[in-house]
């Protein structure tokens, strides 16, 4: 015969059960609306600075300038995104390392890593004209998978990025600069404003 469990253990067990159930049911709500607006504005600035993909077939400084401008924007975007996300989560008293936030991070990460790897490979293969489509598609895929654990509007934004990426795959190279500006600039600003208005901050 087993000894009865102390009442203290049962109460702790119940609290842990409630906490884990709420964590599993909850969604990641720390997607930063204003942070995304800022990210969109920097992307618009960078899009103008980078200009169109150079048409010359021989890779030179113009190509490097274009790529480094967008890589700088990517680094800036990560900085703005993560900082504003942490600040919003902190204001709401949420943790960034457990529960829905962790699922969001794990959902977003794989397509982003694939995007980084393809950037390296396509740059080496001198297939730079494919980069805008790859970036938009990988970013959209990441936002859609991570967004499954977040606000309903987030996967919709991912879907819009996928649509732009698909257009970029088949559209003339001259359109790519506009598509990048529309995606990383326009969509971030649009959805950032929606999130800031509807979900606060």
């Amino acid at each position: 015969m087993t000894a009865p469990r102390p009442i203290h253990d049962k109460a702790l067990d119940n609290l842990e059960f409630i906490r884990s159930t709420m964590e599993r049911a909850g969604s990641f709500t720390a997607v930063p609306g204003w942070g995304m607006v800022l990210l969109g504005l920097t992307a618009l600035g960078m899009a103008q600075h980078a200009g169109a993909i150079p048409a010359a077939t021989v890779y030179g400084t113009a190509h490097s300038h274009w790529l480094w401008t967008w890589l700088l924007e990517a680094a800036l975007g990560v900085g703005i995104g993560v900082t504003s996300m942490v600040l919003k989560a902190r204001r709401a008293g949420d943790t960034m390392t457990q529960g829905p936030a962790r699922k969001f991070g794990l959902g977003v990460l794989p397509p982003f890593v694939v995007g980084a790897l393809l950037t390296y490979v396509l740059w080496n293969a001198k297939q730079m004209q494919l980069l805008p489509a790859v970036w938009l598609l990988c970013y959209g895929a990441g936002i859609m998978t991570g967004g499954a654990f977040s606000l309903r509007v987030v996967p919709v934004m991912g879907l819009c990025f996928l649509a732009l990426g698909t257009v970029a795959l088949f559209a003339p190279v001259a359109w790519d600069a506009w598509l990048l500006a529309a995606g990383f600039g326009g969509l971030h600003i649009l959805f950032g404003l929606i999130i800031a208005r509807r979900y606060g901050g």
Partner: protein, 121 residues
């Protein structure tokens, strides 16, 4: 010496009364003490609305089991059920009522009081 013993006895008596009071701050809510019902209420405290299927996959339970427990919570006005159609597919959504939220808060208080009381002993 006798005075200090009396004082210690008084302190112990007061502590015992406090523990007793903390052990029974309110009657334990049997309705949400049951695991499936506690999970339903906890999940709805974290999300404004959950569909029947979302709750079923979250709780890893059967249709029948979930229906029975959800009905008990509905009867107590702890949760509310909204039925609608998405196209031709019926959709059942649950949400926590103010009464249900208060019941969960009372239950949490009760559990915390139990822990505090046993730690104080």
């Amino acid at each position: 010496m006798a005075k200090s013993n009396a004082a210690r006895a008084d302190v112990e008596r007061r502590a015992a009364v406090k523990v007793k009071a903390q052990l029974a701050p309110a009657e334990l809510d049997r309705l949400i003490h049951e695991r499936v019902r506690l999970a339903i209420v906890s999940a709805l405290a974290a999300r404004e609305r959950l569909t029947f299927n979302e709750l079923k996959s979250l709780l890893k339970t059967s249709d029948g089991n979930l229906s029975v427990h959800a009905r008990k919570l509905e009867d107590a006005d702890y949760i509310a059920c909204d039925k609608s159609f998405e196209g031709r597919v019926p959709k059942t959504e649950y949400r926590l009522t103010a009464l249900g939220r208060r019941a969960l808060e009372r239950y949490l208080d009760h559990m915390e009081a139990l822990i505090r009381a046993t730690r104080a002993r």
